[in-house]
């Protein structure tokens, strides 16, 4: 198992290197002179040339990329063009808010999604099943930024129950988490239903029923457990999407997280922050995928056996 994790960690290195290359290349070809953003519109050509020389911007592409990667390995993501603060510091300051939001959204999506999916599967072809799946389809089809605006309108503006922006109180988390979580809930519900339906008519389930086991035990101990692998994959993908999706949700609800920082930085052409944000979230995304593969082995003994045999 440890061997497998180490192998996967090593395999992450070229992927992350590739991500740095893509992000760096995109920034390299971004139009406009960052020196102008740093010095302002009234900067003299001499001052601009000096900045270019000092920061090594006159070097060829590969030299600059090499320096960029070396700096990254030292935890240096560059400095913000607008306030001169280290990008790493700016991102780490805001990361807990983004992670908190993604985790709460995942908790909402997983709890509601799995419950709805199980009930829909058990009551297959009933009105409840059709209603659940229709709701799930509508949930998937709704852009989550519109969903956020509707939630804001209903619970914040019309009913006045919840705050519509900001961060710091419990109430601030509810609407953004629902905004991000409801779409994922719909996807998880659909996946849980179809995955449960594949298991529900297996012989071992009939055997458990014939043995007189409680239906709650059959559902949680036999059906759900065997249906869990595709559900876990979906949850992991959704967690990654939630991290990415936080960009829009944080902007709507004015949450000072990594996503909002990135959108603000795009508007002010503060590209090192955008680059750093993309890299940070991509790293978390990759680690998340790795963790899911490890979780598989714990959930499904067949995967563990395959890994042992592969050795």
């Amino acid at each position: 198992m440890i061997k497998y994790i180490v192998r996967r960690l090593i395999a992450l290195i070229p992927v992350l290197l590739g991500v740095t290359l893509i992000v760096f290349t995109l920034l390299y070809f971004t139009p406009g002179d960052p020196a102008l953003v740093m010095l302002g519109d009234e900067a003299t050509p001499e001052a601009i040339a000096q900045i270019h020389e000092e920061l090594g911007w006159n070097d060829p592409f590969w030299v600059r990329y090499f320096h960029y990667v070396v700096d990254l390995l030292h935890g240096d993501l560059g400095q913000s063009y607008t306030n001169g603060r280290p990008v790493f510091e700016l991102l780490i300051e805001r990361l807990p808010k983004t992670i908190t939001l993604a985790l709460i959204s995942t908790a909402i999506a997983v709890t509601l999604g799995i419950i709805l999916g199980i009930i829909a599967a058990i009551k297959q072809n009933s009105i409840f099943d059709n209603l659940c799946m229709l709701l799930a389809l509508v949930g998937i089809s709704m852009p989550h930024f519109w969903q956020g605006l509707l939630l804001m309108l209903l619970f914040g503006v019309k009913l006045g129950w919840l705050p519509i922006s900001g961060w710091g109180e419990v109430g601030n988390v509810i609407l953004p988490s629902l905004t991000i979580g409801l779409g994922s809930m719909a996807i998880i519900a659909r996946m849980t239903r179809s995955s449960m339906l594949e298991v529900i008519n297996q012989d071992y389930i009939n055997f458990a029923k014939a043995k007189g086991q409680k239906s709650s035990r059959i559902i949680t101990g036999h059906e759900l457990r065997n249906a869990l692998i595709p559900i876990i994959t979906t949850i992991a993908i959704q967690f990654g999407n939630m991290l990415g999706g936080s960009v829009i949700t944080e902007t709507i609800f004015a949450i000072p997280g990594v996503g909002k920082l990135m959108v603000d930085s795009i508007r002010s052409a503060n590209y090192p922050v955008v680059q750093g944000g993309v890299l940070l979230i991509a790293c978390i995304y990759c680690v998340n995928n790795l963790l899911v593969d490890v979780i598989y082995a714990f959930v499904d003994p067949r995967v563990k056996t395959n890994l042992s045999n592969a050795r």
Binding site: I22, P31, V157, G244, V278
Partner: protein, 290 residues
Amino acid sequence: MEQENKITIKEESYMASVWKEFRKNRSAVAGCVILILIILLAVGADVIAPYDPYEQNYVDALQWPSMKHLFGTDEFGRDIFSRVLYGARISLMVGVVSVAISCVCGCILGASAGYFGNFYDACVMRCMDVLLAIPSLLLNISIVSALGSGVFNMMLAVGISNIPRYCRIMRASVLQIKSIEYVDAARTAGGSSRWIITRHIIPNCLAPIIVQATLSVGSAIIACAGLSFIGVGISAPTPEWGAMLSNGRDFLRGYSYITLFPGLAIMVTVLALNLMGDGLRDAFDPKLRR
């Protein structure tokens, strides 16, 4: 006598059976009808729209929906119904073109990687892993930031970020198909790799690609609207649904209808595409047929 006992077996082509299955699925047909209606509305926007979508009329600014303005007006007095109609053109075009970009590139890369295998396959798939390691919205934002905002760049960004999906599906199908006898026969008959891939392999891998493409048009529409919503996609005054939603956000307190209709338009379009995509998936997959 012998002739009377003959049982005639009506032969049905694969596509005909798929169409027959698709027609049986009522929700898929409903999705298809809604989509056709939306396309007709988009194409006929010049005739149907009562006002010019760009025309500003401050006297009629911020009017609630009425007979004069079916969906009301925005802060510049522009008719929201007309803007939603013209927005359908942009959103559908953006969805279809971005999916076409990802589909063509992904299929070529996936088919060649699966067919040639070895080092080329490893290189292509590692590149896809790298693209998949970046959440698609962030990749879209990065690409649009680099290329600049605008319809084409937005379509390109969404197209590029979806290439890995098609590449993986196509590669998996090719790996299955390339060992089947008719490919061996084509190879033995002296067919070139390009000919075998384009004439024998790709046409036989199209079913999952068609399903994925149908479902992806909806997500591409949402992705593009999202980019416009945060201000990096299509900007005002172009009547794009995402940009209209973003604009309406400032008037949520008193004039919520400004955000209601463009959002509803996105939802109905994507819902129709998803219904159709689900129906196609069921029709193409014999295991899922009712």
